[in-house]
Structure formats: structure tokens, C-alpha cells
């Protein structure tokens, strides 16, 4: 993994607020992260933790109102995606940044053939002729492992199975050779054996095409298998980020620790009772001024209710976590830093 390379995507202080009748919901609160070329960044969190909203905000895919991007910069290709004009943004969407949505049934248009939907970005972004777009579409379907691609181009989405539809979605996202691919829970709606097929496919495509990928999921198992780096989100904030091995071997934030313990395994010893995280994630009606995990945290102390911890580096380079306990941890064992 090229650690020193310039990030291809650099997000700073992103803040997204939904205005609803019941008041404001602060879905994303000052999120910073970056993505390096060729890297796979896994984003983990429960529903409502803001992981999808963060990625949708990057490309301004959220309808406004109710969504409102209050703050932040999204630097990509030398420009701020939050500031550029809609026309310029359209050149980025689907061309330089591809997006795969969770549910392949609702994100494909049921009244157009798959061939038409594949050709659409090719003709719009790359200015291909019909024949060129057709050839490229066949190539793309072959790439994602759909048998008999020439004939399948004429089929409608409902004629494909769930796994095949997700392959079509991936093909569309890859159509213009994007530098960044954002995959929002691409395997959640699929069965495990089909999920295994899709994961193998993505690993293979990464080797062939080398694009950077942001993979959103709540399945820690999937992340462990494919990610280079992991970002854990809770209540619209990044609570921990770091290299995949570090996150799983030595999680620093109490939420990450609890999350890893609460999932039972199919292999290895079986626990008599499942570890639970008591309570529920909060609904953020305002900008958090305290640690949002404190009500469910077994280590919470008075400072957690007064201040919101910032992401601070821990032991290993690139590993950061937002928790006050880390200060004490790093002062206690200074030898282990860079150890």
C-alpha cells in the first residue's frame, strides 16, 4: 500500500444536516478522511451512523432540501466537489467517481434494458457512438462475469437474479474507468454464497484496474477480508480509523471493541452468551458537544459528558481514535509508541 502517495480524495470537516419537521438531524458531523490511489477503505457503522450520508454528500447526491451541506471541503482532482457547478459535478459523477448502491433492484431502471443503462454513461461521458458503446458494454459484462453478454444486453433488470443485477451495477459503475469507486453496502442484499462471488469479483477487478474503493458495510467479516484501511463511524462521526490489522487486532475506541465482541463467529470457540452493547445509538438533533457514545460506554466518566473527543493518533502511524481514555493509555506506556 503506497503510504506516502498523495490522497486522491481528501475530505475535511464535512457536515451534513437534514431539516425535518421534527427539527434538525445532524447526520454527519465534521468528518475528515482521505483516500489514497488504489486503496480500499472500509467504512463500518450501524444504520444511522452517517456512513451512507457521508458518501452521498461527497457527490451531492442528497436532495436539498431537506439535506444541507453546512461545511467542509471535498478535494478531488484539484477541485472542491462541494463548490463546483452542477455541470462540472455531472462530469465527475459516474465518470471519475463510480457509485454502487445497496439494492440493485431499486437502483436499476426497470423500463430500460441493461444494455441501454450501460451505454448511457459511455455515450454521455466519453462521447462514444452507439456501436462503440455496445462493444464496450459487452466487454464490461464479460469483465464482471456475466455469461453470454451479447444476448444479456437486451434483457431488462428483472430478468437478472440479485447477484447478476449487482454485477450489472458494478459494470455500470466501472464503465468510464473511474479513479474512485464508492460501494454502498454492495453485498448486504445478497446471500452469502453470492456475496462470496461478488467479493472475489471486486478483488479481481482491483488487481486488474487498480482504482481506489470506498466500501461501506456493517459486516465486519467482509471488511476484514478486503479492506486496507478501516474507518468506524458512530453518530455521524469518525470514532476510529486505521490499518485493517490494527483495527481488528488492537481496537482503541470502546465502540469498536464492543462491536467486534458482539458478532459471533462461525469458526473458533463459541461463547455461551453474546456480548451486548446496551442501549441504542442516539439521534443527533444538534452538533454533538460531548462524546455521543458515552451513554452506552462502560468506561464513560465525567469528562465524556463535557467535551467531544477529537481523533487523536495512537501507537501505530495512521491509526487514530476519538476517546479520552487514549490519553491515559499513551502516557502509561510510552515505549509502545512506534514499537
Amino acid at each position: 500500500m503506497p503510504d506516502t502517495a498523495m490522497p486522491i480524495l481528501d475530505v475535511n470537516g464535512l457536515k451534513t444536516v437534514f431539516r425535518t419537521r421534527g427539527g434538525e438531524v445532524h447526520a454527519v458531523n465534521s468528518v475528515d478522511f482521505h483516500l489514497r490511489p488504489g486503496e480500499l477503505l472500509g467504512v463500518v457503522g450501524e444504520s444511522g451512523s452517517g456512513k451512507s450520508v457521508t458518501m452521498m454528500s461527497l457527490l451531492r447526491l442528497l436532495p436539498s432540501p431537506p439535506a444541507e451541506m453546512r461545511n467542509g471541503t471535498v478535494m478531488f482532482d484539484g477541485q472542491d466537489l462541494l463548490k463546483i457547478s452542477p455541470e462540472e459535478l455531472r462530469k465527475v459523477r459516474g465518470s471519475k467517481i463510480g457509485f454502487i448502491f445497496q439494492d440493485p433492484m431499486t437502483s436499476l431502471n426497470p423500463v430500460y434494458t441493461v444494455g441501454f443503462q450501460l451505454a448511457e454513461p459511455l455515450r454521455a461521458h466519453l462521447g462514444m457512438s452507439k456501436a462503440q458503446a455496445r462493444d464496450r458494454s459487452v466487454e464490461l459484462l464479460k469483465l464482471v462475469g456475466i455469461p453470454d453478454p451479447e444476448r444479456r444486453l437486451k434483457d431488462f433488470p428483472h430478468q437478472f437474479s440479485g447477484g447478476m443485477r449487482q454485477r450489472v451495477m458494478i459494470a455500470i459503475a466501472l464503465a468510464c474507468d473511474p479513479q474512485v469507486l464508492i460501494a454502498d453496502e454492495p453485498t448486504t442484499a445478497l446471500d452469502v454464497t453470492i456475496q462470496a462471488q461478488i467479493i472475489e469479483l471486486v478483488k479481481d477487478l482491483r488487481r486488474k484496474l487498480g482504482m481506489a474503493i470506498i466500501w461501506i458495510t456493517h459486516d465486519l467479516g467482509v471488511i476484514a477480508g478486503i479492506a486496507d484501511r478501516v474507518m468506524v463511524m458512530y453518530a455521524g462521526q469518525v470514532v476510529e480509523e486505521g490499518p485493517v490489522n490494527e483495527i481488528f487486532r488492537d481496537p482503541q475506541h470502546p465502540y469498536t471493541q464492543a462491536l467486534l465482541k458482539t458478532v459471533p463467529a462461525v469458526r473458533g470457540p463459541r461463547a455461551e452468551r453474546l456480548q451486548v452493547i446496551e442501549g441504542q445509538p442516539p439521534i443527533m438533533h444538534e452538533t454533538p458537544d460531548a462524546c455521543s457514545f458515552r451513554n452506552r460506554c462502560q468506561y464513560a466518566f465525567d469528562r465524556c459528558a463535557r467535551e467531544n473527543p477529537a481523533l487523536e493518533p495512537v501507537h501505530v502511524p495512521g491509526h487514530r481514535a476519538a476517546c479520552f481514555l487514549l490519553d491515559t493509555a499513551s502516557t502509561k506506556e510510552p515505549e509502545t509508541v512506534h514499537g
Binding site: 450501524e46 454464497t193 465486519l220 471488511i223 490489522n245 467486534l260 463467529a265 452468551r273 451486548v276 441504542q280
Partner: protein, 349 residues
């Protein structure tokens, strides 16, 4: 699959399912003529002992939910018998079925869809009490409070409506409703699939706790193999309307015998980057065939990595491996033949 036990257990099974079939007819053409059937469940047999949890796993569309619903007679089954606590369920008339309803209950997948949005928590939990018991208003309220305590819902929430609760709490309401009439047997149909990871563990622990306290018997239907491994005593694996393997939890997860079980288990990713890097999943090719037009021979023959010629011609028999372990696969036809029967179509108990 006929569950022939070794006779060491004195207890009789609470639930006995024999050769259960559930076909949904397909009508087509101008006159809506019957042109075929979707064989959602095609001849399955199993037993569940009192106090036991049988996990039923399989991919979407394999018929596992249909099994749960037909056992409770939410569908009129096409064939086979279901016996719960000594009573025949599959073919009795409506009135006698109704009197048996209290002992068998169901927890549904989607707590949002299975709770009436216009009823308060108290009336949702109290509805089965009104239907099946004659309680005074005070007794009824006391029972509702007791049930809310059992599932960890604050009594003060009794007058609230389902939309005021989170997903996990809604599932607790569904559980309280299922417990209202002191059932013996509960079908849990994907009870945690709609919940977040951190909430799933809470609900599973609650189900286990209630099972211990009330001596409940569960049929736990799920596609989440790791959760089934946690909660189930025995596990049945379904593929396209049939049970391909049934075994104790330890045996099944330690040494799966059927090629489909092997593939299914190997496909589950594990939250450990070190072992994930070395894991070589058996990646199945293709998709599940349509249950309206299942392949000839073994249902799994179109995707099986170990497929042989015979698999495409003949449906495999059921092979016994002792301790109630059964596998339906031709791979084991020569090696171990204790009580194997020639064709699955002629299976009896």
C-alpha cells in the same frame, strides 16, 4: 428427512414434521389454468425435542420461511403431516386448529410490518389474551405488565404506539405478543435480520433467556450462520425446498458433510484479517435454480463442485451418520448405508 433417533432419549419430540410439502400453484393464460407448481417446500421431515432450538438455514428463496409458516398452518399445506405436542396440525379443521393456536406462536422478521400501527403496545400484547382467554380487566393488565417486564420493556410505554419505538424495542413487543398465551413452541422467522448488529445480540440473548425461563422450543429460521451457530442446538440446512443436511451444531460447523453446507460455511467472512487472507472460500458458480422448475436429480447438481453423473439423474437418498445426523448426497451412498432409503419420494418415518 426422517429423524430416526437411537432410542436413548426418553422424551418424545414436541414437533414432528413428516414429508411436508407446500406447493404454490402457477396459473397462466386466458383461463388462468393451472400450469405448474412452485415447489417451495418439497418433502421435508424433522423432529424438534422439547426445550431444543432447531436452526433452519438456507439462502433466500430456499423455502425456509415457508416451512415455518406451513408448520403453524399459516398456509394450507399440500402434503405431509405436522404434529405439535401430540396434535395433528396440518389437516385439522379451523375450529380445532384455533383451540391449538395458543401453544404455537410466531415471531416475525419485520417488526415494523407485523405490528398494527394504530394499536398501542398494551392492546397488541393483550389481543391474544382477549381472543383465547377470559380475563378480567385487572388480570389482563397484570399479564401485559408481566410480559413487558419479561422482554425488558418499560411498563410506562404500554400506552405508546409502535412507531415510537426503535427496531429492537419493536421486536421485543413482537416477542411479548408471542409469549402472551404461554406457548410451548415458537417459530422465530428471521427475528434479527432487520436489526443492527449491536441490537441483534440483545434480542438473541433475550430469546435465550426466555427459553431457559419458560422452557420454550424454538424453530429459529435465519440466513445468518454465525447467529444460528450461537443459538441453535441442532441445525438443518435447506436448499431449494429440501433439507440437505441436519446435524448437531458442533458436528455441522466443525465438519460439514454436504457440499452445499461446505460451500455455505466457507462463504461466511470472518472478522479477522489474518485468517481472512488465508481463507479460500468455495465459490459456487451460478444462481439458485427456480423452484418452479427444479433440476432433474439432485437439486444442487447444477452448482455442486463435486457433482457426479448420478446426481443429474437420481435424487439422492438420506444417509444416516448416527446421533441424528443426516445427509442427502450421493457422495455418501456407498460409504455409509445404515438406514438409507431408495428414493426420497417414498420416504416414511
Amino acid at each position: 428427512m426422517a429423524d430416526v433417533r437411537n432410542g436413548t432419549e426418553a422424551q418424545a419430540p414436541l414437533v414432528k414434521v413428516r414429508d411436508l410439502k407446500m406447493y404454490f400453484p402457477i396459473h397462466a393464460g386466458l383461463f388462468r389454468t393451472h400450469v405448474g407448481d412452485i415447489k417451495a417446500v418439497d418433502g421435508i421431515s424433522f423432529d424438534i425435542m422439547p426445550g431444543e432450538t432447531l436452526g433452519l438455514v438456507g439462502e433466500s428463496g430456499c423455502g425456509k420461511s415457508t416451512v415455518g409458516r406451513s408448520i403453524l398452518r399459516l398456509y394450507d399445506v399440500t402434503g405431509g403431516t405436522v404434529e405439535i405436542n401430540g396434535f395433528e396440525i396440518a389437516h385439522v379443521d379451523r375450529d380445532s386448529l384455533r383451540s391449538k393456536r395458543p401453544m404455537m406462536q410466531m415471531i416475525f422478521q419485520d417488526p415494523q410490518a407485523s405490528l398494527n400501527p394504530r394499536m398501542t403496545v398494551a392492546s397488541i400484547i393483550g389481543e391474544p389474551l382477549d381472543e383465547h382467554m377470559k380475563l378480567s380487566a385487572d388480570e389482563r393488565l397484570a399479564r401485559i405488565y408481566e410480559l413487558m417486564d419479561w422482554v425488558g420493556l418499560n411498563r410506562e410505554f404500554a400506552k405508546r404506539y409502535p412507531h415510537e419505538f426503535s427496531g429492537g424495542q419493536r421486536q421485543r413487543i413482537g416477542i411479548a405478543r408471542a409469549l402472551a398465551l404461554n406457548p410451548k413452541f415458537i417459530v422465530c422467522d428471521e427475528p434479527i435480520a432487520a436489526l443492527d448488529v449491536s441490537i441483534q445480540a440483545q434480542v438473541v440473548n433475550l430469546l435465550e433467556e426466555l427459553q431457559g425461563r419458560l422452557n420454550l422450543t424454538y424453530l429459529f429460521i435465519s440466513h445468518d450462520l454465525s447467529m444460528v451457530r450461537h443459538i441453535a442446538d441442532r441445525v438443518a440446512v435447506m436448499y431449494l425446498g429440501r433439507i440437505v443436511e441436519i446435524a448437531s451444531r458442533e458436528k455441522l460447523f466443525a465438519e460439514p458433510l454436504h457440499p452445499y453446507t461446505q460451500a455455505l460455511l466457507s462463504a461466511v467472512p470472518e472478522p479477522d484479517p489474518e485468517s481472512e487472507r488465508n481463507r479460500k472460500p468455495i465459490v459456487l458458480q451460478g444462481d439458485v435454480p427456480s423452484p418452479a422448475n427444479p433440476p432433474k436429480g439432485c437439486n444442487f447438481s447444477t452448482r455442486c463442485p463435486k457433482v457426479m453423473d448420478i446426481c443429474k439423474l437420481q435424487e439422492p437418498g438420506v444417509f444416516e451418520f448416527g446421533e441424528g445426523r443426516q445427509v442427502a448426497c450421493h457422495l455418501y451412498s456407498e460409504s455409509m448405508t445404515t438406514t438409507a432409503e431408495p428414493t426420497a419420494g417414498e420416504r416414511t418415518n
